[in-house]
Structures are given as structure tokens and as C-alpha cells.
């Protein structure tokens, strides 16, 4: 029987996969191919957890259409609201029984804290925020960035018999599986029939496993039967991100900084809309209250890897560059010809963004007719 590579997938709660999870299945295929050896092949299992069976099932069907070989739904009332404590226990318990070769997470807000907690529970090794994979002398080398992106570190797992936990940076692996973001943030998944899946085959590939936190078997740090405590979610504040597009997976980002001001951000949003992109910001713009913290790109914000990064009025501090240096094409607009941002740019315009952006918006509209 084939060993499995598990992918932990997140949904929007209404039966759709989030775009980072749709990407993860494409990366899992690349990883499965790289890990393949003689008499060692891997199949891909989609892992979905929650309390709403129909929503999970609907997301599982999309995962199967997008490349998973089977899907496991971990279901229970305790999983109605995400918590690292219960989710890591639920996945850990299943993993101890079924012993997959590896469990992959996308480095989302949840994945970033769930994966290491699970790794500790299984006493497994983990690599976080992985961006690429190579193979040397039959050994898999996982690549991640350190020191604010200035170093690439290749890491291997020393314990071949243990489950391996890997979290992967959205947009990495050469943009594999990048989902085109529609203006409303929804992502398109392939048609199940393109994989030759009919209703019967699809339903046969989905299994459901019950979970209750009460009968935990322990794991590292816990004696068997010891109750698992989780924090209580009291309130979800209104989404600071006022747009549906996820920065971490966006193909196009238009960002503003100190030189932008509230008026500049109106132009930045207009350009982002025109390019079906997301809006980003530097620390100064967030601190001045021109835009919410959710849009912050940099050391204390989010790391982005879009195909196109247009920045306006951002001088280019070390902390900001950490978050955007892996963008494929960087276009900078800044009044100061000596701004550090120009050193990490493919293209730049020295000028006032309040004049340059309207001209750029007009030019793109004109070009598109």
C-alpha cells in the first residue's frame, strides 16, 4: 500500500477551500514526486476538520477534484471553532494510528501555530515556512529563508521513521498551484469530471472520523486522559482586511507608505482594483492609521511573494524589505531618488505618487481599451 502525504486544508466554513489550501494540493504533488523512490510511492490525502459535515464534504470534493487521492474528514462539536489545542490533538491521534510519511500545512495564521503544536505532540521534527525542495544523493533537502530572507538554509530530517511536519509559505515552490484571485477573493477549483471523478468515486474517496476532546490519548506533555484546555474565543473583531483578497497569496500587490497619505491610499486601492490585486502597507502607514494592521508587509507583518509588487511612497527600511524581497517584479514610485527601495526594484519612477498613480491608472485603462 502506498504511504500517504497528508495536507491540512482550511475552508471558509461554507464548503469552499481557502486559496492557500488550494495551492497546497499542487505543492503536495511536487513533493510526492520528489520523495518518490523505487517501491516507495506516495498518495495525497486531504485532511479537513470541523463540525459541519456537509460543508466539509463539499470542500473535500473540491480537494479531490484539485488532486487529492482521498479525503479524511475529522468531525466533532469540539472542532466547531478552530483551536490549536483540539485540532493538533485530533490530527495527532489520527496520525499516530495511520502513520503518514509527512503532514503538510500552508503557513496561514492557523497553520503557523497548529503545525508546531502538532509536531511537539508527535515529538516529530518540523520545518516551518518552507519555500522549496531539492534532492541530493537521494536525500530530500527542504529550503527555508532565515535572517530576514538574506540566507537560504537547506534542512533535512534526521529521523526517517518519524512523521515529518512541514509548513509551506504561500506563493512558494515557484508559485505552484497559485490560484487566480477573483475580485471577490473566491478561488476557482477544477471540475471533478476532468479527473474522471463521478459521484460514486468521489463519495468512496471520502471517509469521516469522529473526534471528541474528552477521550484524548495524551501525546507529549500530557498524560493519557488528562483534559486538554483551550482558550475560549470570545469575539471576532470586524475583519480589519476590508477586501476579500488574501495578501499572502495575491499575485499583484499595490502598497503604500509614508509618502502616500489617506489620499494616496485611495489611488492605491483604485490601482489594486484595476489589477485585481491586494493592498499592502508599510509600518508607517499602519501606525498613522491610514490603513489597518492586516495590510502590513514586513518583519512584524506578513511576507508576500506576488508576481508584481507596486509600491508607492515607501522608502525601503530593512524591516519592510524582509517582507517583499521575494516578489518577482518590483516597481517603486518614490520622490526621493536615493530611496533604498530603488536598490531592490526592477523598475522605478522618481516622482510624486499623487501625480504618477493617476497617470499609470489612465495608461493601463487606455491600454486595455
Amino acid at each position: 500500500m502506498k504511504k500517504e502525504i497528508w495536507t491540512y486544508l482550511e475552508t471558509d466554513g461554507r464548503g469552499e477551500l481557502v486559496s492557500a489550501s488550494a495551492e497546497l494540493l499542487a505543492k503536495a504533488k511536487i513533493i510526492a514526486a520528489a520523495a518518490e523512490e523505487k517501491e516507495k510511492e506516495y498518495s495525497i490525502c486531504a485532511l479537513l476538520a470541523g463540525a459541519e459535515h456537509h460543508a466539509l464534504e463539499s470542500a473535500a470534493e473540491k480537494a479531490l477534484a484539485a488532486g487529492a487521492d482521498r479525503a479524511v474528514l475529522i468531525e466533532g462539536r469540539d472542532l466547531a471553532v478552530y483551536s490549536a489545542e483540539y485540532y493538533s490533538d485530533a490530527i495527532g491521534r489520527l496520525a499516530e494510528n495511520e502513520k503518514p510519511r509527512m503532514i503538510l500545512f500552508e503557513r496561514t495564521t492557523d497553520g503557523m501555530e497548529l503545525a508546531p503544536r502538532l509536531a511537539a505532540r508527535l515529538e516529530a521534527g518540523m520545518i516551518s515556512d518552507c519555500v522549496d525542495l531539492t534532492k541530493e544523493n537521494g536525500k530530500l533537502l527542504w529550503v527555508r529563508h532565515a535572517f530576514g530572507g538574506t540566507a537560504a538554509v537547506s534542512v533535512s530530517f534526521r529521523e526517517q521513521e518519524r512523521i515529518q511536519i512541514i509548513s509551506i509559505r504561500p506563493g512558494s515552490f515557484g508559485g505552484a498551484g497559485r490560484v487566480k484571485n477573483n475580485a471577490d477573493g473566491s478561488c476557482v477549483t477544477p471540475d471533478p469530471e476532468s479527473r474522471g471523478l463521478d459521484a460514486a468515486k468521489t463519495s468512496a474517496a471520502i471517509v469521516s472520523v469522529p473526534y471528541s476532546a474528552a477521550d484524548s490519548a495524551g501525546g507529549a506533555g500530557k498524560a493519557a486522559g488528562e483534559r486538554i484546555v483551550r482558550p475560549e474565543l470570545v469575539e471576532v473583531l470586524e475583519a480589519a482586511a476590508d477586501r476579500g483578497v488574501d495578501l499572502s497569496t495575491a499575485g499583484v500587490i499595490v502598497a503604500g507608505g509614508n509618502g502616500a497619505g489617506p489620499e494616496g491610499f485611495k489611488l492605491i486601492e483604485e490601482l489594486a482594483d484595476l489589477l485585481h490585486g491586494a493592498v499592502g502597507a508599510s509600518r508607517v502607514a499602519v501606525d498613522k492609521g491610514w490603513i489597518s494592521h492586516a495590510h502590513l508587509i514586513g518583519q512584524s507583518g506578513i511576507t508576500v511573494t506576488p508576481d508584481l509588487y507596486i509600491n508607492c511612497g515607501i522608502s525601503g527600511s530593512v524591516q519592510h524589505i524582509v517582507g517583499m524581497r521575494d516578489a518577482k517584479c518590483v516597481v517603486s514610485i518614490n520622490k526621493d531618488p536615493k530611496a533604498l527601495i530603488f536598490n531592490v526594484s526592477d523598475y522605478g519612477i522618481v516622482g510624486d505618487l499623487h501625480k504618477v498613480l493617476p497617470a499609470l491608472i489612465a495608461e493601463i485603462r487606455r491600454h486595455r481599451g
Binding site: 495564521t109 503557523m112 501555530e113 503545525a115 508546531p116 503544536r117 509536531a119 511537539a120 505532540r121 516529530a124 521534527g125 515556512d129 541530493e136 533537502l141 529563508h145 535572517f147 530576514g148 538574506t150 540566507a151 537560504a152 538554509v153 533535512s156 534526521r158 529521523e159 501525546g219 507529549a220 483534559r227 484546555v229 483551550r230 482558550p231 474565543l233 470570545v234 469575539e235 471576532v236 473583531l237 480589519a240 482586511a241 488574501d246 495578501l247 489589477l275 501606525d287 494592521h293 518583519q299 512584524s300 508584481l308 518590483v330 516597481v331 536598490n343 526594484s345 526592477d346 523598475y347 522605478g348 519612477i349 522618481v350 510624486d352 504618477v356 497617470a359 499609470l360 495608461e363 491600454h367
Partner: protein, 323 residues
Amino acid sequence: MNIIVCVKQTPEAGKGEMNPGTGTVLRTDRKQVINPFDLYAMEAALRVQEKEPDTRIIALSMGPASAASVLRDCIGLGAETGYLVSDPAFAGSDVRGTAQVLARAVRVIEKREGIRADAVFCGAKTVDGGTSMLGPELAQFLGVPQVTYALHCSPQKSKDLQESQGMQDSPDLQESQDPQESQKLQGSEGLQQMPEGTRTNGTFLRVEKEDDRGNRIYCIPAPCLVTFTKASFQVRYPMIARILEAESMELPVLSAEDITAEDPAGDSLSEKNPVAAGPEAAAMQVEAVQLRKLDKQSQIIEDPDPVKAVTALAQRLFSEGIL
């Protein structure tokens, strides 16, 4: 409330380098400072202390003898003392090993100080390795709940905001104090169960976690672990008198023997948590380190007429299929 703040010595921002041969951090000629994210954790602990003056704050670090300097930084800011876990046997530990050692160290501190660690605070990530793994791994090895990437927190006597005295004077959380709103959420499905047992300690933290889908407010019972990211407030400056005091303080150092031999809390921690520290026991092996240089052509257009500049830029972007 007793808070243990975990801190790490890291190279100053933007100046870190690694030894390309061994993958170890070159520490010799770089200024070593406290990891900036750990300062946010320290600041959060001090803010808890402002609200609950009997709060004890103890700093904890693992590293070479020189790492004692970051513990002294914490004392300068207001920590009571600092424990350094330092042993050649622990050098080269991976995150799993480090988390296991720190979990034991927390138990040793509890025993020696005669306290229970109600909360362990960490930075959400480090500026060198930047894995963000330590906090959640440590929480699991301690067997406590976690909130990661917190912006700020406030102590609470009860999990119910209205019963709590501690929150009334919290300016940080004004926006989330609508009692109807939080009651409504507490009553909604899946959120209402907080088993009775969690009330026995009478101590909770109300934490705002950063989340791009909308920040979340959690109520987390002690003992717990919280990791902090940069909040909107400034981190305070150390007090001169405390800095001088810290210079002459003798800080306790925990060796591998202290960590592994003691059965710290008299519980079965040693059984539950074997320590796999040092390079030989590590799960991960660094194979290579390469510096990543940005190779950008930087075609910069300087034209006083913005329309001409944009036309020149747009032509290139259109022709290369970027736009």
C-alpha cells in the same frame, strides 16, 4: 500572577550572518541584542504587572554564557530575576530540543521559586531563524493552552468580562468591551463550554490575537502560554537604577544536569517529556546555508513629466507581459 518571559539573544536587525560551512550563527563580531519580539512579550508582562501589582516576572533564556546580557536587559526593564539555561551539551539543539529543555526549565524555576508559572510569554518569532515554532512547541510540552501572535493582553479574575474587576481600567481593550456583543458570542454554539475546572485558579488573560480575517479576542485560563508580536504601543525604556542593579546581580544558571536530573514539580514530567537536546538528538539537520543576494537591474526612470515617465514604464511592463 507569575509570568516567565522567554527571551533569546539574536544578532542586531539586518546584521545577522551564518557560517556557510556549518550553518551555525556567527556570533563573534556582531552586536548581540535581545530579540525584538521578546521585548514585546516583556512589555506585555510589565503591563499585566501594572494592573496586578503582585505579579512576579522572571526572565528565562537558553544560550551561551554571554546570553546573560539579555536577561539583565529584562531585569533593567523590571523583571525580578533571570534564569540562564547554559550547557555545552545543549549547544546545537533544534527547536524540539530547545522547547523540551525550556519546558523542564519552567518546572525547575517553579520548584526553586516556590511558585506556579501562571503564564509563559514569548516573542512570536525570532529575527534570526524566524521559525515561529518555539512558542507552540513549548506550550504542548508544558501541556498548556496557547494564543500566538498576540497584540496585547489584560489579566481577568473571571472568564466573564462583566464579573471581572481587572478589565475596568484597561484602555487597550475599549473597543472590545461591548458586553452585549461578547455575551452574544459566548452564548453561540460551540463557544459556550469552558469546563468548570478552568475556573479554579481564578486567573485568566484576555488576549487580542492578530488575524488577517479579523482579530480575535480570546479568554485563556492560567496556566497558559502567549506569544507576542508588535503592538501599536511603544516598548518602554529600562530604568537606570535597575540596569545598575542588574549588573551586580548573580543570575542562576541551569546546567544539563539541573534540567535532566531534577524531577522538578514532583509530577511525571520526566516520563512525559524526554529531553532530546543537542545536535545528536536533533530531529533536523542543517545541510547548507547560502547567502541570498538580490540581483535587480533597477531601471529607474527620472522624468519631470509624470505622464512621460509612466508611458516609458508602462511600455516595458506591457512588453514583458507583466501588466
